[in-house]
């Protein structure tokens, strides 16, 4: 389902504005993001998706904290896979892979459906988008904090120059 990763793409583009990635990424995504937006999804749809789903971020970050699970997600971004296919690159047992998938499921990052004997997994982009939103929130927060610090220091300087010198030079 091509539209699915398209959702993620939009948010990736958003997070690049908060300097989370290298400049190479920035160029690459800038080059393509508009196309993705117009072709696949309006950003509002995703915003609503994130709002409505009320995603808990802790399990998302916990799930993403493991390299095997990240690799699995990367694979799933290219399309659906069954557990065996996800396990293959790691030479791990079905049970071990299933355990990882369970963590991803718990975080809402993956949905699994049983088709006969196959467990087919599909990526769910909303939690990734929510995680990205979280990052953007903090970017705004820190920008505001530093704005305020700058304003405070400037106002102290102004007050210091208005006063007779010698007093309160540091404040």
């Amino acid at each position: 389902m091509a539209a699915l990763p398209g959702l993620v793409e939009f948010r990736i583009n958003g997070s690049i504005r908060c300097d989370g990635f290298g400049s190479q990424m920035e160029t690459m995504v800038n080059k393509y993001s508009t196309k993705w937006l117009t072709i696949f999804v309006h950003p509002l749809i995703l915003n609503r998706m994130v709002e409505r789903s009320n995603i808990a971020l802790d399990p998302v970050f916990r799930a993403l904290g493991d390299p095997t699970r990240r690799a699995m997600l990367r694979t799933l971004a290219t399309g659906e896979r069954n557990i065996g296919e996800l396990a293959a690159p790691f030479r791990m047992s079905f049970a071990a892979a299933s355990k990882h998938v369970k963590v991803l499921e718990g975080a809402g990052l993956v949905r699994r459906r049983v088709q006969g004997r196959r467990h087919v997994c599909r990526i769910q982009p909303a939690p990734l988008a929510a995680a990205d939103e979280w990052l953007q929130f903090y970017h705004r927060l820190w920008t505001e904090q530093l704005d305020r610090l700058d304003a405070l220091l400037e106002s102290e300087d102004r007050r210091a120059t208005e006063r007779p010198k010698g007093k309160d030079a540091k404040r």
Partner: protein, 148 residues
């Protein structure tokens, strides 16, 4: 590519590195700006400015107290300050904030980095979860190149 560094903000200040650095640790100064919202009021500031020391800043917004707290990890005046940061009311995640101050021609340049995933969730030298987003973006860019 940055590994776990997630949020990064840089800013130039006309003030000296020492003054900007101290603004983070002097209780009477830090309470005037850090986590102070325009409509809120800072009602509690505690700063135990040593490695391992705790800090708490409480902002009252519409009668509701919001606590920001953490521990100092590294204090190297005036260059580098590292502290953990959490807002228990909104999240159980603890993040780490690094403030680096470089002297410039007039004043200094500050770089703030916040890593979102605490150490217990993520080994210190492995790639952060941004790897996923990067991986996805790489895939998507390739997909677009091939299909569109």
């Amino acid at each position: 590519m940055s590994a776990t560094a997630q949020v990064k903000v840089t800013r130039h200040f006309n003030a000296s590195p020492e003054r900007v650095f101290d603004a983070w640790l002097e209780p009477q100064t830090v309470g005037k700006w850090l986590f102070a919202t325009p409509t809120g009021q800072t009602v509690r500031v505690e700063v135990d400015a040593r490695a391992g020391g705790k800090w708490i800043i409480v902002d009252r917004r519409n009668g509701e107290d919001v606590e920001h707290s953490g521990e100092y990890v590294e204090i190297d005046r005036p260059r580098r300050l590292v502290f953990t940061f959490r807002v228990p009311k909104y999240s159980s995640l603890t993040t780490e904030v690094t403030v680096e101050i470089e002297p410039g021609e007039s004043g200094c340049d500050l770089t703030l980095t916040q890593t979102n995933v605490p150490a217990e969730y993520l080994g210190s030298n492995e790639k952060g979860w941004t790897g996923i987003l990067v991986g996805l973006a790489e895939y998507l860019a390739q997909y677009v190149a091939e299909h569109i």
